[in-house]
Symmetry: C2
Subunit: 527 residues, 2 copies
């Protein structure tokens, strides 16, 4: 058994640790061979000190330099593709193909390359030039960014390779990555790739650093430290809220993705039109990745009636018949059981599932629950318990007005969907419900399940609290996601040669979009 | 003595109150005749309920409708100009002219009209259209906005007429204004103007509501209420931090402007060049408005040397000779005394001032303090005590390196200035200090005092904590300030006719700037 080293500055070094941990293989429930340190504060302190120097050095770098690093990193990742897929499969039980090798890894390198393009282009900084007043502003680096990644995307949301990482680096900041404890080996391979890329592109030492794990207290101290610029966190609501409280008290921006039940409203007309098809579509979306997506449809709202009953029966059958997948960890398995018990405790009726096992390794039967609209409204908090995994709750509303009330009682969510028919029978209901749902979700969908999260400049992977910590920001989509890790920097009467390149008269890349005297333009000032 | 009514919905009505208060005239220290209610929670609750309905109605309004209201309101304000100036002068002792009538009132109506233009134009929503994926997004209203205004700008930052108000309304939100207790009468006149404009332009009842005062507990409950969308606050750090804690715990965005000492670094070359002139410039900036500006230069950093000594002597003389102005309130007078005492307690040397009175009404002598760089670095927190009013602290650093250390030890500030000579002697020092100061301030100035805050699209009236609560946002500058009161709203596969106007294929105004497939454009999609 090897005790792994942490990455501080550009060196792998022994951690200061009091404890160690091992990941296990969710399919076999057996511990994996490597041992990882639980760092003490000394390691966090060392990483922060190096990161502060790195931030000073990075302030002087062009977007082009940062882009070169991100592209070299994507190449290094591809060179390690087999090792990454092998390790991630062992640590998460996610299928090697297509999921890890053909979907998530290409998505990850694609994100890094899109971030590189954004860094090189510079339009994300929104340079704003007011020639009359002599005032110019743009977004610029915020300082060392701490990233805490989730368990469910070992590549695409990994703290050292995922969306938050790519955005933080592209915005010009050094990153201190805190590995997710369920896939430290995958994270270590990424760190090797990042270190190789950073050295090849001569990035400042400390551009990328890695700590595997800390105590909760040290995590809270890290996000609130005066040397920290901002934090990105994706994970459980309870751990996230502790970090948020610590960061908020210190006035440090923290972007959190905490929980979401992703309500899907399916109106009667569309069920009449293609109920069977929708039962299949919903089942696939809900059980994909064993339901372990942040945008998993965990709450379905139907209107009372025959077509809804038929839909429920069809989905129940499909849930029972579908194979039971392996969950990411023992923790996910036990939380799923506890949260389903909580939902049944408040009165949700079991349609199928909620039994132990039924598959390989950590698992629980595909579970479907049902409640009435009145039940839901009698305890909206209880019925919104997120049962992360292969489960969903169907709520049967008495009518459209009650469905609106249900929408109003929802917490903030990442997504909300409404399915309506093509003939217009559902239009009046749509028009009533949509504004209520709109106010509660970051992304509103029509006739489509929420599980796909395209890396589009128009994507919003965000939403009102507690889906995230602030409804104005997205964690997916480039260049918008970069803004989270930037501060607004204004220059008033600053002498021209002292301005950052993006604010000087000449367009720095020849194609950077800037607001010059109220108009967006790729031209030079006065050009 | 008349007990004033509060504005709930579109009606003036009796408050639910346990207590009342009166403002006083700072120049005479005598109570003004009107009596105002301290509302109980019932009034906040009523305002929130109406505001929720108003937000639903406002979601359906075009930017043009909102713009018409803002413009009508600016007109109504101008019709009440004499009454506003009279009342504000009585409540704040700020000069009727030029300050109130010729500077602050025109600035206020100008802000409202700029906000109207932004609402009509729609570019502030940053419509982003990705035709390939069928995903479109833009910013949209966040819901009822609570605004708490400061004491120092009875017009331009008033909770019912100032920058936060204009931004929140232009972004499509109803506003619940909490009057500043030092100028309730001024606020009441604005509310009458706003009500008249709202009725004339047929805005939903509750678009603008006014409560004069609440308990601290009810204020905290208000910003954290589930019906609240976001809050804007400008005022004292202690009160602001309590509101921030309450809003943060509830996951509600709150934008705060808390405190700032606005460091000014004056390098030796420029003192050699025009030290006398700078002594005048600094004195004017520091004593303007009796020093009661958020961007008042409260901390000056000089390098040890003859030119600095001469500058200090000249400023000391000017401070002693300048007339002593009337402060905004008894509270400002007593805080100023306490904070100057705190600065002297940690070791600042008194150069002039710090005596009671010397002017009319509430006042304190123009005060200049001095400390060495080492003193400052031995207790940065103590020496950064903000003494809001007609005072400043001069710190004499041993050398450039120590000046950099001082910059690094600063809390977040709204502004930071560096004066350097025209011949190049100061350039090396500038290059060393600027990156350190840049990281600590929202607006970096060259060769210019910070007290002017132009309403420019490139302005950043913001900065790292504790200057504000988040360094990515500005409170002044249109359209950027609107984004604070908006949420990011994504539409995925939403049927074209259901999209908000700004995201439909046709450009809604013919000139709205939108990002279509990566390029900013005023064209129609496909056009």
């Amino acid at each position: 058994m090897t005790l792994q080293k942490i990455l501080i500055g550009d060196q792998w070094r022994d951690a200061n640790h009091a404890k160690t941990f091992q990941a296990d293989n969710p399919a076999t429930k057996e511990a994996l061979p490597d041992e990882y340190p639980v760092s003490t504060w000394d390691d966090c302190d060392a990483a922060l000190n190096v990161a502060v120097s790195a931030a000073v050095a990075m302030r002087a770098l062009s977007g082009d330099r940062v882009a070169s690093f991100l592209e070299a990193y994507a190449d290094q990742i591809e060179q390690r593709k087999d090792a990454l897929v092998e390790m991630a499969n062992a640590e998460t039980a996610l299928p090697k193909a297509p999921r890890l090798a053909d979907v998530e890894l290409p998505r990850t390198t694609n994100q890094l390359r899109q971030a590189a393009t954004a860094a090189r282009d510079g339009s994300w900084t929104m340079p704003t030039i007011d020639t009359a007043s002599g005032i110019r502003s743009c977004y610029g680096l915020i300082g060392p960014v701490c990233v805490f990644g989730p368990n469910n995307f070992p590549f695409a949301f990994n703290s050292i390779s995922g969306g938050d990482f790519a955005a933080a680096i592209a915005a010009g900041n050094p990153v201190i990555a805190k590995a997710n404890s369920s896939h430290p080996g995958t994270t270590r391979i990424f760190a090797e790739a990042a270190r190789a890329a950073a050295q090849a592109t001569e990035m400042p030492a400390g551009t990328v650093q890695l700590i595997y794990r800390t105590s909760h207290e040290d995590g809270e101290r890290l996000v609130a430290d005066s040397r920290t610029g901002a934090t990105g966190y994706t994970g459980s609501r309870s751990a996230g809220l502790k970090l948020k409280a610590a960061a908020d008290a210190a006035g440090k921006p923290i972007y959190l993705e905490l929980s979401s039940v992703n309500p899907v409203v399916i109106l009667p007309g569309t069920l009449e039109e293609r109920g069977d098809e929708l039962a299949g579509e919903f089942t696939t979306s809900c059980l994909m990745g064993v339901g372990q997506f942040c945008t998993n449809p965990g709450l379905v709202v139907l209107l009372k009636g025959d077509s809804s009953d038929k839909f429920v029966a069809a989905v129940t059958e499909k849930f029972s018949a579908a194979p039971v997948g392996t969950l990411l960890s023992k923790g996910v398995e036990s939380s799923l059981g506890e949260n389903l018990a909580a939902l049944r405790q408040v009165g949700a009726e079991l349609l199928t599932g909620d039994t132990d096992g039924g598959g390989t390794g950590y698992c629980r039967a595909n579970t479907l629950l049902r409640a009435s609209g009145s039940q839901f409204l009698s305890n909206p908090e209880g019925f919104q318990t997120e049962a992360f995994g292969n489960s969903s709750l169907i709520v049967i509303a008495d009518d459209v007005d009650q469905a609106c009330e249900i929408a109003d009682s929802l917490e903030g969510n990442l997504t909300g969907c409404i399915y309506s028919d093509t003939g217009g029978d559902d239009d009046a209901a749509y028009d009533k419900i949509a504004p209520h749902l709109r106010a509660r979700v970051g992304r509103l969908l029509n006739d489509k399940m929420p599980t796909g999260v395209a890396v589009s400049p128009a994507m919003n992977h965000g939403g009102p609290y507690p889906a995230t910590g602030h409804p104005g920001f997205t964690a997916v989509g480039i260049p918008a996601s970069l803004i989270r890790f930037a501060m607004l920097q204004c220059y008033d009467n600053v002498r021209p040669h002292r301005l950052p390149a993006g604010l000087q008269d000449a367009n720095p890349s020849g194609k950077t979009w800037r607001v010059i005297d109220g108009s967006w333009s790729q031209a030079d000032v006065g050009g």
